[in-house]
């Protein structure tokens, strides 16, 4: 457990470092799905209205697990939430974040894209998903792709 937590923090540290190196890549929103040490800024993505009590309960538990650094538990709890509401884009977004923090860039980008495909015209959520994709691309060694994603995020944030 301790090992996992340390790994999570280390990866997160590495991501922050990458972010600083990249310069232009801003952080995704702060909504509890980070093990701590997140840079300030950005908006908070809240669960949508109409989210069921069961899913809100799971989200609360996932957030608590995430705060304790038990990201694998947070991941499992979010999966349960997604099984209950598979078309809820916010859940996919949270899941993308957890994977990003766990250092699984490819998966995080896939999940953020899935969230986008369900997000409709929610520009805030889409912008934040693009930020995740930017981070993931940066981590995968694709700075040009990261910049493009960041531009999408900025454009969507501007549209808002």
């Amino acid at each position: 457990m301790v090992l996992l937590r340390q790994a999570g923090l280390r990866l997160w540290g590495a991501l922050i470092l990458l972010t600083m190196l990249a310069g232009c890549v801003t952080n995704p929103a702060r909504d509890g799905f980070a093990p701590g040490g997140e840079a300030a800024g950005g908006t908070v993505i809240a669960p949508r209205r109409g989210t069921s009590a069961a899913v809100l309960d799971l989200l609360e538990r996932a957030r608590a697990a995430s705060r304790r650094g038990e990201l694998h538990k947070a991941e499992a709890l979010l999966e349960r939430a997604i099984r209950i509401e598979p078309k809820n884009p916010v859940l996919w977004h949270y899941m993308a974040k957890v994977h990003l923090h766990r250092g699984r860039a490819r998966r995080a980008a896939g999940l953020a894209a899935r969230s986008n495909s369900l997000a409709g015209d929610d520009a805030t959520l889409r912008a934040d998903n693009w930020r995740i994709i930017a981070h993931a691309r940066q981590a995968m060694g694709d700075p040009a792709g990261a910049r493009a994603a960041q531009a999408r995020a900025a454009q969507l944030a501007g549209d808002r």
């Binding site: 069961a54 309960d57 499992a76 999966e79 099984r83 899941m95």
Partner: protein
């Protein structure tokens, strides 16, 4: 040491001197008669040597017995198979689940109907109101306590979920997951191993009370019990009582012979003492629970209480009640003598005797024993054959595990594997496949040769919910769902159309495509000129019509325009895990694929362009419950989601006016789903792949010897699919979403816009700006496609 050597030497020299002495003894023999002769002989025998020799032999023999018993014990002890569980049912308010389905889940889990629900694993029902006492389960991510809850249903949904004790609403309730089998070593050890701490207390204490009361005190043998048994047997003039300890019985079971010779008994006693020297009581008891012989099914011996519970009661050991546990204890004495299927009266008498002993010894209360005695034997008439009721699914689990684990770990480390199997969906698929296969087999006069396979996944993340590998659903033979590679026919067509939509700029679902004879020259000069199924060419038709009615000539024309290699590349993008050759015939599905591979491809359609590997496992835990590996939700963008939504709008049309339209006969809601039929040359294979919002199901029908089965995708596999989907009751697709796409109602002759009220109209999706502008006229049924309808009519006669 030195002294010993000298003594030996002296003895040797004595030996050499013996011949002169013999003379004198011979003389004495005459003088003193026979008694003296014996004494002389007695003195002559080299006793010390003899004893030393015997002692050496004995030590060697005991050493040999020790080696044998230890290797037996070790060999069995460390083989702790992986335990495999189904998905836990997760209840919450508003969860779509009819009350009858919920009750079926409780039955599968072995919950018992009971007036009061004081004990975990019991429930009662009044109409749509259930009260149950859950068993609780230590999930790794969260502990689920055992508790009493009330579950109310309304209109096919969970209406309320209330904790009885606190009278508060529960937001979530996870039932315990169903145990679906173990993963065993290759030598096909047919055993359901249990651990001592998993064994019901009544069983363990009861066994000791009935078979070996001093188990925790003796050294492997119990002389007073042997004496008592001997006395009882002498008085009765036959063997009526055994004096063997559990340890001796275990030794006997290890070597499987029933000869009651004294030599054997002696060996057993020695080995029992040896076992006790090496292992502690609990280890011996655990081995006993797994080793004891409890029945016979033909050539198959039933060893251990885990398997016996399955064999006699078709339930896991942990779910048996007191009467059933007493029955198993009763069987230890003689599984043949007390065979419940042959001598139920005899067994019942012995079970009641056992229950009396349990009450006397304080294992059960008097009242509980009385209650158990009032029960029938409740042994199932036909034992299940295998060690898992879901062989095709378990096969998938095993293969997925082998990618990351050595076989040895799987069969010996006691891993706990949590899978994605949904037992309710699984039984829906089994029932539908069985019923429809029987019907179709009879209708086509196939004499039982018609085979089938089916897979169901969740559209969300590719979780495998159900798998059936053949018409004998419980039989672990050839797993057609995974291993039967068959030509897919028209199932491949959506891939061709998607490639065209994506790679030919300006292509839409109403682009004109020519369904006219086409000739393609192969590299060796062969000419290929594909025909339509009904041998009729339809001229220029809108693209979606060619897809939904599965026109071959139009599809080949389109595929040749985009390039067969592009279609192959698309197959790979969608999730086909291997390369296939790019021949033109591929455009009509000459390629052989397994139902699993087809599922993988259609999964990407159902998930709107996101690819998830079909997976049967959620997580693997160690025997101690620590997470070892998770298989997290994995979605990768594979194809532009908008283009897949456009394609899916045409696949919905298949169910409304296309080749899947017959589904409504079994499944009234079918029009809200999307799918595609597949038929191969000479009607050898009948396929259907279709999905709603939650479930994707792929069905294949055919014969193992590849003979014609006389079924198209629509007349065969579609029936199984619709029947199963109707049972599952999963939701249809969401109404076509408007955002980023434009929806239009179009008519099938020219693809022009018409009103939604036009009976032949199809609602299709377009990228903004590519939608048809020109208004058309709603065609009459005759214009729509008279040739096709005539052929349908003709086909109806042939069906």
């Amino acid at each position: 040491m030195a002294r010993k050597v000298t003594r030996k030497k002296r003895r040797k020299t004595g030996g050499r001197q013996s011949s002169p002495r013999r003379k004198s003894t011979a003389r004495r023999r005459h003088a003193r008669g026979d008694g003296g002769r014996f004494r002389r002989w007695f003195r002559q025998v080299p006793w010390k040597k003899l004893f030393a020799g015997l002692a050496v032999l004995l030590v060697l023999y005991v050493g040999y017995l020790d080696y044998r018993i230890r290797s037996q014990f070790e060999g069995k002890r460390w083989a702790l198979p992986a335990h495999v569980y189904a998905r836990p049912l997760e209840l919450r308010e508003d969860f779509p689940l009819p009350a009858a389905r919920f009750e079926r889940e409780l039955e599968l889990l072995g919950y018992r109907l009971a007036y009061d629900t004081r004990e975990p694993g019991t429930y009662n029902r009044q109409h749509r109101r259930f009260r149950l006492h859950t068993r609780g389960f230590a999930f790794w991510d969260d502990d689920e306590p055992a508790r009493q809850v009330e579950v109310r249903f309304h209109d096919g949904r969970v209406d309320a979920l209330i904790d009885v004790e606190t009278q508060r609403a529960l937001s979530l309730l996870r039932l315990d997951p169903m145990y679906i089998g173990g993963i065993y070593p290759d030598q096909h050890e047919d055993r359901l191993l249990i651990r001592l701490d998993e064994a019901p207390e009544v069983l363990v204490r009861g066994l000791i009370a009935v078979e070996d009361r001093r188990f925790y005190e003796h050294w492997g043998v119990n002389p007073s019990a042997i004496a008592r048994a001997l006395w009882a047997n002498l008085r009765a003039g036959a063997t009526v009582q055994g004096g063997s300890t559990l340890t001796q019985q275990l030794v006997k079971n290890f070597f499987l012979s029933n000869a009651r010779t004294l030599w054997r008994k002696g060996n057993e006693a020695i080995m029992a003492v040896l076992l006790e020297l090496h292992y502690d009581k609990d280890e011996i008891l655990e081995a006993y629970l797994n080793e004891v012989y409890l029945g016979q099914q033909g050539k198959r011996a039933i060893h251990g209480f885990g398997l016996a519970a399955r064999f006699y009661f078709d339930r896991p050991l942990a779910q048996l009640d007191n009467a059933e546990l007493a029955t198993l204890i009763a069987l230890v004495q003689g599984p043949a003598l007390y065979d419940p299927r042959r001598h139920p009266q005899r067994l019942r008498k012995r079970r009641d005797l056992v229950l009396n002993i349990l009450a006397e010894q304080g294992v059960l209360s008097r009242a509980a024993a009385r209650e158990a005695m009032a029960q029938n034997l409740s042994v199932v008439r036909r034992p299940s054959r295998g060690i898992t009721p879901y062989p095709a699914f378990m096969d998938m689990v095993r293969r997925q595990l082998r990618q990351s684990y050595a076989k040895r770990d799987l069969t010996s480390e006691g891993l706990r594997i949590f899978t994605t199997l949904d037992p309710l969906v699984q039984s829906d698929v089994e029932d539908a496949l069985r019923k429809q296969l029987r019907r179709l087999d009879r209708a086509r006069g196939l004499g039982g040769k018609l085979e089938g396979a089916a897979l169901v996944t969740s559209t969300t993340g590719g979780e495998l919910l159900a798998a059936v590998g053949g018409r004998e659903v419980r039989f672990a033979g050839f797993n057609r769902a995974l291993d039967a590679r068959r030509q897919v026919g028209s199932l491949v067509k959506p891939v061709v159309y998607l490639t065209a939509l994506m790679e030919r700029p300006g292509t839409t679902l109403v682009s004109p495509v020519s369904d006219t004879p086409i000739r393609i020259q192969g590299p060796n000069g062969d000419i290929w000129s594909p025909q339509n199924y009904n041998k009729v060419s339809h001229g220029v038709v809108p693209l979606y019509v060619a897809l939904t009615r599965s026109y071959n000539q139009a599809t080949v024309r389109l595929g040749m325009q985009v390039g067969v290699d592009r279609v192959v590349a698309m197959l790979r993008r969608l999730g086909l895990p291997r390369d296939v050759p790019a021949y033109p015939a591929l455009l009509l599905g000459s390629q052989t694929l397994s139902p699993l591979e087809v599922t993988q491809i259609y999964q990407t359609f159902a998930a709107e362009g996101f690819r998830s590997p079909v997976t049967a496992i959620r997580e693997v835990l160690t025997a101690e419950g620590e997470p070892l590996q998770r298989y997290p939700l994995d979605v990768a963008p594979a194809v532009d989601p908008l283009q897949v939504r456009i394609l899916n709008s045409a696949l919905r049309e298949v169910m409304r006016h296309g080749t899947g339209a017959n589904a409504v006969n079994w499944f009234p809601d079918a029009a809200g789903f999307a799918g595609k039929t597949g038929t191969t040359n000479d009607l050898r294979d009948s396929w259907f792949a279709g999905f709603g919002r939650e479930h994707l199901m792929v069905v294949w029908l055919g014969a193992d010897d590849n003979r014609s089965i006389g079924l198209t995708g629509a007349s065969g596999a579609l029936a199984v699919w619709s029947d199963a989907m109707a049972r599952m009751g999963g939701p249809p697709l969401d109404p076509l979403g408007g955002e980023q796409l434009v929806l239009r109602w179009v008519e099938p002759v020219s693809g022009r816009r018409v009103g939604a009220s036009c009976p032949e109209a199809a609602q299709l999706a377009f990228l903004p700006g590519t939608e048809p502008q020109e208004a058309g006229r709603c065609p009459s049924r005759e214009d729509a496609d008279w040739t096709e309808r005539a052929m349908d009519w003709l086909r109806g006669l042939l069906d």
